[in-house]
């Protein structure tokens, strides 16, 4: 008789991660990563837009279907529970609970739609709500308050942040949740940095995978590109000389740039004087014939970096401390684990006076694993959420943030010199923030963002599709224009790969339909979620 097993799941905005855990010894058996979130859209607000337009039920079915995909691949034998961590939006969508309070920030809209405050305590439900056997327990950790979700709680607990003082923690994801601890009070915020630091919305951007340029290393001749090979190991790539613009083709040829690669490029470009935001000398850094980093990419990256820096500063200013008092930074999330902290500091992702950097990995999955092993922990989490003296600063409402962010925009996208920004910061008693950072000691909890992957790590593409038919001539313009190749046609039926689809952020298929017939989310159409057979990873595109 094999031991009972549990699954720990982290539902992120840009992907899902699952682990099968042996409950007798707490060991991880295997890990599976889904590269995309199955809900159409490039960020969490797009996901919410989809849910508002299509209804919570259909959105829930997409997520549940993705959860089943992952769990199937983990091949559990005696599944007794599933613990799910993630931000409150994904968790509410998964459970089919109220999510509209998270979709709107403004009171007047909430009142008009009659949406009251929603409490999200940690709880255990029966497996049948996700289509599992009713004997399987589903454990959902609490959100502290509506803005501070289970993922933020995980980040604070699992990093060691709560035991420390005068420290910062940041999950460098699309949403950039951040917290500052001063005495017993925790100041939290979330700067919508966007997906640029994950390699998305960058012209040649890609998620971490084979062929991804992930870092640059300084050599006398220039910067050596570091490229991931087919086993996801770091190999030497071309040598890039920022000053002369010469590229020596060597080693592995990069196919795209990841988020950490973007940070490395910005750092190297500024250091060697090739970039002075918003301009790159020569308008782009051409790494190969197809891969380049352009002025627009620099602006996208700059807006994200600016949001994070303005967010950190806002927390410190609201807490009434100087950045010089902050000595420890916990960097969470995949980007926070793989990025070189020295480069991150030089581009403003980490305050300059920090002397200890701890790279803590994916804390959301760690918390899910902990409560999968010890479900009683949910009670102590519920106690903690009541006791936590958390002060949430809503950056959209904060005048300090909006003041600082207008300077960040001017520095990154209009070319204002940083001298004027540092004068502004001096008014907030944060002088020296833009100066040369200290050299911190760096501790990496694990080489991978998932600390223990068990015997195998599998990467999975989303295979969740919506099929539908429209009353149209099948001209195929929509299929041709889809930038993500998410839309295909099969025997006159449209197939949308929901994980690839950018949803409301794109809508090119709808806007360019010459007959005005294409209605991507028209719920009157057939809405049938299906999974492609496992053998075919991509369907044959419709012959045009």
């Amino acid at each position: 008789m094999t031991a009972e097993q549990a699954v720990a799941l982290d539902i992120g905005t840009s992907g899902l991660r699952g682990q099968l855990v042996n409950l007798e010894n707490g060991q991880v058996i295997r890990t599976c990563i889904m590269n995309r979130n199955p809900i159409p859209g490039a960020n969490i607000m797009d996901h919410l837009s989809f849910a508002l337009e299509c209804g919570g039920d259909k959105t829930r079915r997409l997520l549940v279907s993705a959860v089943h995909d992952i769990i199937e691949r983990l091949k559990p034998e005696h599944l007794s529970r599933i613990a799910v961590c993630g931000n409150p939006i994904q968790l509410s969508l998964l459970e089919g609970k109220e999510f509209r309070d998270l979709a709107y920030a403004g009171e007047s809209k909430l009142k008009e739609e009659n949406i009251g405050p929603v409490d999200r305590p940690g709880h255990i439900v029966s497996g049948d709500i996700l289509g599992f056997d009713s004997g399987v327990e589903i454990i959902i950790p609490p959100a502290v308050r509506h803005e501070i979700g289970a993922d933020a709680l995980a980040m604070m607990i699992e990093s060691g942040f709560l035991e420390n003082d005068f420290c910062l923690v940041t999950d460098y994801g699309t949403n950039a949740e951040m917290a500052l601890k001063v005495g017993d009070t925790v100041y939290t915020g979330s700067a919508a940095a966007g997906p640029a630091l994950e390699g998305q919305q960058i012209g040649s951007g890609m998620l971490a995978g084979p062929g991804a340029l992930s870092d640059l290393c300084r050599y006398p001749q220039g910067w050596r590109a570091k490229v991931l090979d087919s086993r996801m190991e770091v190999q030497d790539g071309p040598m890039i000389n920022m000053r002369s613009g010469m590229i020596h083709k060597e080693g592995v040829v990069p196919k795209g740039i990841t988020g950490t690669g973007v940070i490395a490029l910005v750092h190297a470009g500024i250091m060697d004087g090739r970039m002075s935001p918003p301009k790159i000398t020569g308008d782009s850094i051409d790494i190969t014939r197809n891969i380049r980093f352009t002025n627009e990419d620099l602006a996208e990256a700059g807006k994200a970096l600016g949001a994070i820096r303005a967010g950190h500063l806002t927390l410190m200013i609201e807490a009434g401390v100087s950045h010089k008092d902050i000595h420890t930074m916990y960097m969470a999330g995949a980007s926070g684990t793989y990025v070189d902290p020295i480069k991150a500091m030089s581009v403003g992702m980490v305050p300059p006076s920090v002397i200890n950097v701890v790279q803590v990995g994916n804390t959301s999955l760690q918390l899910a694993k902990d409560i999968a092993i010890k479900p009683d922990e949910i009670d102590s989490l519920n106690v903690l959420r009541k006791e936590l003296l958390a002060k949430h600063i809503m950056f959209a409402k904060s005048s300090v943030f909006s003041d600082l962010y207008s300077y960040e925009l001017a520095v990154w996208t209009e070319g204002m010199d940083t001298y004027r920004y540092s004068r502004k910061l001096a008014e907030y008693d944060q002088s020296g923030y833009l100066g040369t950072p200290l050299k911190p000691t760096i501790r990496k909890v694990s080489d991978l963002d998932i600390i223990d992957t068990g015997e195998s790590l599998e990467m999975l593409d989303t295979k969740i599709e919506i099929r539908g038919t429209w009353n149209c001539s099948r001209c195929g313009i929509c299929v041709r224009l889809c930038p993500e190749k998410a839309l295909n046609m099969d025997n006159g039926r449209f197939i949308i790969n929901t994980g690839m689809c950018l949803g409301t952020a794109c809508m090119r298929c709808v806007e360019n339909c010459p007959e005005g017939a294409f209605a991507l989310w028209n719920t009157k159409n057939e809405f049938h979620i299906s999974k492609r057979p496992n053998e075919t990873v991509t369907a044959e595109p419709f012959p045009l």
């Binding site: 009171e107 007047s108 959209a396």
Partner: protein
């Protein structure tokens, strides 16, 4: 000065103010390579712009300078003094306050001033205008514009920049703030003789609010269109409904506002 003392001071500056140190080093290098640092260009054009825009009255130019520097308290103090001395409030607006912001805007167009400075100058100018308004009532303007952030959204940095630049270009802007319902916009349009509405949103969940507002204004036959902008808004999205135009930047908003209000263009001629 003895070379050692100079070096000591330079090192001290390097430690205390590395930003300024680097800037000076770079300027030194640029000067050696034979081209003038940008700073000189900026000074030249600021002076030139001032000469073109400023009044000849030194008391008025003092106000313009305070607006340009973004010092609200100074502006208020100076304007109060001018009014006490019996100056015409309308003159103060057109000859003292407006030239300051005009110079700032032209500098912005040239890429020599930046958004934070426009916001500060605008704030300073508003301080002065409020004082004049209490003396004068309405102040002549190029037109009436209302600005708002769609219902459900609170992100108003973009809208504030846009409103400031519209004001700086001579429009009267009724700022409805953020999280504004379409009915509220309609009421303002009817009550205040608004000629153009500018709406923005950052969140994709709230962008239908812009469409609803544009359609309501059309349905109610107000003849007023909505200029839409913001991170969640694209030209293609705005193209899906009537009575709206897309503006990518604050400057484009000003140009389109000019076409609509002074040029009597309709929304469908500007798409």
């Amino acid at each position: 000065m003895h070379m050692d003392i100079v070096m000591q001071q330079v090192l001290k500056m390097k430690n205390e103010d590395p930003v300024r140190f680097n800037k000076l080093v770079q300027e030194g290098m640029a000067a050696e390579l034979g081209y003038l640092p940008e700073k000189n260009l900026r000074e030249i054009s600021a002076e030139k712009l001032k000469k073109e825009n400023y009044s000849e009255d030194p008391e008025y130019t003092a106000v313009s300078d305070a607006v340009l520097a973004g010092k609200r308290k100074d502006v208020e103090k100076l304007v109060n003094k001018l009014i006490e001395n019996g100056r015409d409030p309308l003159d103060v607006v057109t000859e003292a306050l407006m030239p300051g912001i005009q110079v700032q805007c032209e500098m912005y167009d040239l890429g020599k001033a930046f958004v934070p400075e426009i916001l500060m100058s605008n704030d300073a100018m508003q301080g002065g205008i409020t004082i004049c308004q209490s003396e004068l009532g309405d102040i002549p303007s190029k037109g009436n514009i209302a600005s708002f952030v769609a219902q459900g959204d609170l992100h108003d940095i973009g809208k504030n920049i846009c409103a400031a630049i519209l004001k700086a270009n001579g429009y009267t802007v009724t700022d409805l703030g953020r999280d504004v319902s379409k009915e509220e916009v309609l009421k303002t349009v009817k009550d205040k003789g608004i000629q153009l509405v500018c709406g923005s949103t950052l969140m994709s969940t709230t962008k239908p609010g812009l469409m609803d507002t544009a359609l309501l204004l059309e349905l109610e036959k107000t003849g007023v269109s909505v200029a839409c902008g913001g991170a969640a808004v694209s030209k293609a999205f705005v193209g899906t409904f009537n009575n709206a135009i897309y503006t990518k930047s604050p400057l484009e908003t000003v140009h389109k506002a000019d076409s609509i209000i002074s040029g009597n263009k309709k929304w469908n001629e500007l798409r």
